[in-house]
């Protein structure tokens, strides 16, 4: 029994060090995740039942909802038409300036499993993993803004760190004037801190923060948060600035995983993307 303990302790310490310093144990982790995945499925089962019950509504309510959604879709489409025109114009202008323009990103919709890993970290589990091409350091967004980034992907699921996690930092930019800074998670789901701005920084409550694209993880220009509090600290080098995330981090059910860099991904609509690519090349060549 004592030798058993010795073996186990030594192997554990070896695992801990290797896992801390490198990602060589990811295959072991993936293998073990086949045991842990059923547990996660079991735990999120009650919320699945609840969703099904909610979706069994009366005919009239569904009809009403359908009509509303159709109306909304028409409006959104008109808006998108305008955006498409603007995007083309932007590409043309950037081409004139000699800059490159990022193509539209690939996205994949994923659902949150309702599990809670550890109480002091803001990490959620989604139901898409490396089987779908999800990999670490991928941004995750929802309809309102940035949600977080993929921390670790396993075959059937992956872990997403939210932007409000105390260990998360995100390069942002004030949309109004282009001021760049870093937004750090506060440990509260409705709070971000901007700890690295001086007292005389040009930033006001109500300013929209967007991703700056620096750091290479998040694509540029997605909304992140709105500044809601600016407290000067005359005796300290930096001011206390707080912002509220645009994404509703406490009530998201689905999020979108984004491929923005040049890593090879399975194309969702190959023809469309290719057509867009060639069009863009032409514009740039002009």
């Amino acid at each position: 029994m004592n030798t058993r303990l010795l073996i186990v302790v030594l192997v554990s310490i070896f695992f801990l060090i290797v896992d801390h310093k490198s990602s060589r144990l990811d295959t072991v982790r993936s293998g073990l995740s086949f045991f842990s995945y059923p547990v996660q499925k079991l735990v999120s089962f009650p919320s699945v039942i609840k969703d099904t019950l909610v979706s069994i509504k009366s005919y009239s309510a569904l009809k009403k909802e359908n009509a509303l959604l159709k109306e909304k879709q028409v409006i959104d489409r008109v808006r998108l038409l305008k955006f498409a025109a603007l995007e083309n114009e932007n590409i043309r202008l950037k081409g004139l300036l000699g800059n490159s323009f990022e193509l539209g990103e690939q996205i994949l919709s994923a659902e949150l499993l309702s599990v809670n890993l550890v109480p002091y970290e803001h990490v959620v589990v989604i139901n898409k993993g490396s089987k779908f091409g999800v990999h670490a350091k991928q941004p995750a967004i929802d309809a309102n803004g940035i949600v977080g980034q993929v921390l670790r992907s396993m075959p059937l699921n992956s872990e997403v760190m939210l932007i409000t996690d105390p260990n998360h930092a995100l390069p942002v930019q004030v949309n109004r004037n282009g001021l760049r800074t870093i937004a750090v998670g506060s440990g509260k789901l409705d709070r971000l801190k901007l700890p690295f701005l001086p007292n005389n920084a040009d930033i006001l409550p109500g300013d929209l923060l967007v991703t700056s694209g620096l750091g290479g993880v998040f694509p540029q220009g997605y909304p992140v948060a709105v500044v809601d509090n600016f407290i000067m600290q005359p005796d300290k080098p930096f001011a206390n600035i707080y912002a509220t995330p645009k994404a509703k981090l406490d009530r998201i059910r689905e999020l979108l995983v984004v491929w923005s860099d040049s890593t090879p991904v399975p194309l969702a609509f190959p023809d469309e993307v290719e057509a867009k690519g060639t069009k863009n090349d032409k514009k740039e060549n002009e």
Partner: protein, 157 residues
Amino acid sequence: MNKSQALKGYFVSIFFAMGLNIFSLPVFFRDYNPDWVLLTLIYWVLAVPEKVGVFNAWGVGLIVDVLTGRLLGQHALAYSLTAFSCLKLHKRLGQYLLRQQSLFISSSLLLSKMIEFMIEDFKGDAQLTVVFLLPVIVGTFFWPVIYTTLRFFRSIR
């Protein structure tokens, strides 16, 4: 009751305990959620010490590591050390009353939590607050519940 049935009960109860460990509770209760897997594991170590031992605890710990996204080996180390101390003392513990056992359980939970804290600290982002120790206190109060429940399920089969 034979040994294979005991093992079946072991796997099923550990499976549900893992579920309870990551159950999405309201924010207020989250800090109080005890380590159900460790409590269940201790029960089985005391009940069938010849079947459930250090290696078993280590394997379960590895799965919990993957489940909660910790470094591989964190729970594994904590669980195997706790299982070892229970194995060493299981004969004496069998003689104890339930509330006397609870006292031993609380120190076991504390031991496991401290190992986990040590590793989090080694990773570089841990703070020793009351929040870290709340599950130990809650877990101690849940030991009689776990013990009687699991023994009930073992006796009806």
